[in-house]
Amino acid sequence: MTAETGPDADLAGGTPRFDELIHPSTRLTLVATLASTDWAEFGYLKDRLAMSDSALSKQLTTLEQAGYVGTERRLEGKRHRLRARLTARGRQAFDGHVAALRQIVTAAEGGDNV
């Protein structure tokens, strides 16, 4: 059996594990964006999340210190470009967090039906 791919494909599952580091909304959007890419450049993330350089750097540093994100500085022409990617650990944490969120929703829906 092959996993369904494409923009309409369901989000990946994982063992439910609520992750407090990922949960704050800005960080969740940042990690979710990175989870849909192989890598993204600092400039793209900044525009996509409408964040200042310093705010985005701070979020990336926090995630990098947790081992969830890896960054790489590349020289293109005369400019340095920063690429960020989700590490295997970060992807696992993200999948687990999404599974935990689903579990909360499912439990509430089950409770509503009683």
Binding site: A3, T5, G6, P7, D8, A9, L11, A12, F18, E20, H23, S25, L28, T29, A32, T33, A35, S36, T37, D38, W39, A40, E41, G43, Y44, R48, V98, A100, L101, R102, I104, V105, A107, A108, E109
Partner: protein, 159 residues
């Protein structure tokens, strides 16, 4: 903390995750330069086809196909339309390559039909005329046509 997270908060968070994925999925496609290169190649094939040299008429489309396969092979995945990110294979899926190949086939059929019509109308260089027309279409509307075809395929798949 998870005990304190309400179902509504969790639903909002899941919506944010799905929204982020959709935003990245919008980046799937081919670079504008790809369509400009295809347009230039199309005109060259049209010019060679009107030279009345059977070798050139046969070789031009083959050279175009080989050049396309060599240069655009990696681009066809649609994962790196811009320099800002590379979309994951899971999000891009296999659709971009299929859409582009279908579009190129449709452009080929259109070129032949237009060239035949122009020839019947007595035009001196019908292949060049048809190639220029289709090249303008590819360069100007290639990305839009590609998105439209992709949406049609996705609707067909859902139905």
């Amino acid at each position: 903390m998870s005990e304190q997270t309400s179902a509504r908060e969790a639903r909002d968070a899941l919506d944010a995750v799905a929204g982020a994925r959709r935003e990245v999925a919008r980046e799937v496609g081919l670079p504008r330069a790809y369509w400009w290169t295809v347009a230039a190649g199309w005109i060259l094939v049209g010019v060679f086809s009107d030279l009345n040299n059977p070798w050139l008429i046969g070789a031009a489309p083959l050279a175009f196909g080989a050049g396309h396969a060599a240069l655009a092979g990696r681009l066809l995945s649609g994962r790196q339309r811009t320099r800002g990110l590379r979309v994951s294979a899971a999000v891009a899926g296999r659709r971009p390559a299929l859409v582009t190949i279908c579009l190129l086939a449709a452009l080929t059929v259109t070129t032949i039909a237009v060239a035949l019509a122009l020839h019947a109308d007595g035009m001196r260089h019908p292949s060049i005329g048809a190639a220029v027309l289709v090249a303008v279409l590819a360069a100007g509307a290639g990305p839009d046509l590609s998105r439209m075809l992709s949406r049609m395929l996705s609707r067909t798949r859902r139905a």
